[in-house]
């Protein structure tokens, strides 16, 4: 009983912390007009009322009303104020973790301007501090906390992979001096990776290394802290997110790098570029850039040259939610593709209106929701099919994983590529 009360206290502390007016504003603003329904891939795919974004806001707001408003305390039935009990928690887990990719599409289209994604993330934070994160997601966070990367790749294996990729790079550029530098101090760029790269797609490491080679960049990888991801950003545990964020911050400073460059990973870019400084409550003293921005910069400045006809097949672009809606990076990925591909076509809709692939919000890590994840992916599959493209570019390894599964499940017969792979294949050296 005492333990249960302590959990409830911790959960309510998230709602009542009174840090600023943001949460209070969004919790009190929803008018339950329901117009957000058609913006949500879950509702569009399954047509279940409980999946409407307003419903996700309301389950958090109903707890807020119960404990923090006069009406909710005195007349809970009037405003359906809910106790934070087991039933509510179970529903919250299913709705906020299992039925939302926190893609933020509903936010842009909310008639009022409620930051639905922010409220969902606060709800997840409540569950997180109470210890109710789905175990699959929590184990991914745990791996990162315990081993330094979310896939628990050992230091030895990682170094071996980099050495192997260095040989590949040397062969490809026909230069025995071409290198993948490790833990070198004082370089201009400290580059990061999504652990999926060394684990499953090492070719994308050599692709980016080839870009750095062509640009003549001064760069290094850290073998201690290279993981661009921060799954605590998905589980929304502020302390765990801060530990991972601080490690990256410390490593950039240890290696005395001038710039942190983030691999193609939507949430990795968002968490490191935008959220990490807030997690550790510190302004970074170095520049933080996504590799997409950096590659576009190289091309614009003439540091690398690409063959505009290198990619002859029709290519379309998937906009990762965290990169575009959550990070304002819209132009550079399009610029890059137009420098490498003959025939680039947008999906409909695209940009800030683009639909999530279905793998965001930690969904790929939560196998218990796999069936739902692939069901909501039908929308993305249709977008790709209608584009007529044979290649789908996605500047996010998480999205690449999901898109590859969509490709298989919905028989799209397309190639799914990162931008670094496309640029590397187009380089004129």
């Amino acid at each position: 009983m005492k333990e249960a009360n302590e959990k409830i206290r911790k959960g309510l502390e998230v709602l009542g912390s009174g840090e600023d007016s943001k949460l209070l504003s969004h919790l009190n603003a929803c008018v339950r007009c329901g117009l957000c329904a058609k913006s949500c891939i879950y509702y569009l795919s399954m047509k279940d009322e409980k999946l409407i974004p307003a419903s996700k806001v309301d389950i958090v707001a109903s707890v807020y009303r119960r404990y923090f408003t006069f009406t909710g305390r005195q007349l809970p039935g009037l405003v359906k104020a809910r106790d934070l009990d087991d039933k509510t928690v179970t529903e919250m887990v299913d709705l906020l973790f299992g039925s939302c990719t926190v893609c933020g599409r509903c936010v842009k289209h909310c008639s009022i301007g409620v930051d639905i994604e922010y409220v969902v993330r606060k709800g997840r934070e409540m569950l997180s501090v109470m210890g109710y994160v789905p175990s699959t997601l929590q184990s991914t966070v745990r791996s990162a906390l315990d081993t330094g990367n979310n896939m628990a790749i050992s230091h030895g294996d990682f170094v071996d992979t980099l050495e192997w990729m260095e040989e590949e790079l040397q062969d490809e550029v026909d230069d025995p001096e071409a290198r993948i530098p490790m833990d070198e101090k004082g370089k201009k760029v400290m580059y990061t990776l999504n652990p999926r790269e060394p684990k499953f797609f090492p070719i994308s490491i050599s692709a980016m290394a080839k870009v750095f080679y062509a640009a003549g960049e001064s760069w290094t990888l850290s073998t201690r802290m290279y993981d661009v991801t921060n799954y605590a950003y998905f589980s929304c545990h502020p302390d765990e997110a801060a530990v991972i964020s601080r490690r990256m911050y410390d490593e950039v400073n240890t290696l005395e790098a001038g710039m942190l460059v983030l691999a193609e990973c939507g949430h990795g870019v968002r968490s490191n570029r935008w959220e990490s400084p807030n997690y550790i409550k510190k302004q970074f003293g170095f520049e933080v850039l996504s590799s997409v921005e950096l590659m576009a910069k190289y091309i614009r400045e003439g540091r690398i040259r690409t063959d505009r006809g290198a990619l002859k097949e029709k290519v379309t672009l998937h906009d990762p939610c965290n990169l575009v809606r959550g990070g304002g990076i819209f132009k550079d990925q399009r610029y890059i593709l137009k420098q490498c591909a003959e025939d680039f076509v947008e999906m409909t809709p695209y940009g800030t209106d683009n639909f999530c692939c279905g793998g965001g919000g930690g969904q790929l890590a939560m196998s218990e929701y796999n069936e739902r994840r692939m069901r909501i992916a039908e929308i993305k599959a249709e977008q790709i099919r209608k584009s007529g493209a044979k290649v789908v570019a996605a500047p996010c390894h998480n999205c690449i994983d999901q898109l590859s599964q969509i490709n298989f499940t919905y028989k799209l017969n397309v190639k799914v590529k990162t931008l670094a792979e496309i640029v590397a294949d187009s380089l004129i050296i």
């Binding site: 840090e19 504003s25 409980k50 842009k108 400084p277 304002g328």
Partner: protein
């Protein structure tokens, strides 16, 4: 002054006092401290949030539900007009002139819009699911406020009904969902700041085209 006028004034005072409390609380809590490096303009984001971002051409909730969107705008305009009418009566002025017919007509139309929205809430499966008793009460109070305002403009003898409906609505405003009259502005402000800081907003058509090059 008649008792119903005093009731209206009393309700207005309570409403303003509680709303003021909400506003002061928001101001005292302030903005979140942002440690990340800014890449856009929060001011432009906020301006965009209150202007172009509300345009149906960039907002699916409006463009895909145009009749409801228009009904909503008419409904809100009706509330402002009925509010001005209420203030006129409180100030001891007697509304007169031919233009009153226009305002009465508009209030009936807006009350009709409110009724339509209420019917939709009662019949649409997804709206039924997310609705609370508060939603129905709020709608009925505001719709009745507007309709009674329209009747009052045509039949001045119905002033007590109008003042009582206004008073009831104002007493309810700070405790139910009608307090979005305050929090709407706060939410859009925060959203504009957030997107503006990250250079997501403003994002208008011209910029999209230009960015695609």
């Amino acid at each position: 002054m008649a008792w119903y006028n005093w009731f209206g004034i009393f309700s207005l005072a309570i409403c303003l006092a509680v709303c003021l409390y909400h506003v002061i609380r928001l101001i005292k809590l302030g903005m979140p401290v942002e440690y990340s490096g800014r890449s856009g303009s929060p001011v432009s984001g906020i301006v965009y949030s209150f202007t172009s971002a509300m345009n149906p051409s960039v907002k699916e909730s409006a463009s895909l539900n145009l009749p409801v969107y228009i009904a909503g705008i008419v409904y809100h305009l009706g509330t402002f007009i009925a509010g001005i009418l209420f203030m006129t009566v409180i100030a001891g002025l007697s509304p007169s002139g031919y233009h009153l017919l226009f305002f009465a007509f508009f209030l009936f139309i807006s009350a009709l819009s409110g009724t339509g929205i209420l019917i939709k809430r009662l019949t649409d499966k997804k709206l039924l699911y997310i609705s609370l008793p508060d939603d129905y009460i709020s709608n009925v109070l505001v719709t009745f406020f507007q309709a009674s305002g329209g009747v009052f403009l045509l039949l001045p003898g119905s002033e007590p009904v109008f003042m009582i409906s206004a008073g009831l609505m104002m007493l309810y405003l700070p405790v139910g969902k009608l307090r979005h009259a305050i929090y709407f502005f706060a939410a859009r402000f925060h959203l504009g700041f957030f997107y503006g800081w990250r250079n997501v907003w403003p994002l208008h058509k011209q910029k999209v085209d230009e960015r695609s090059k």
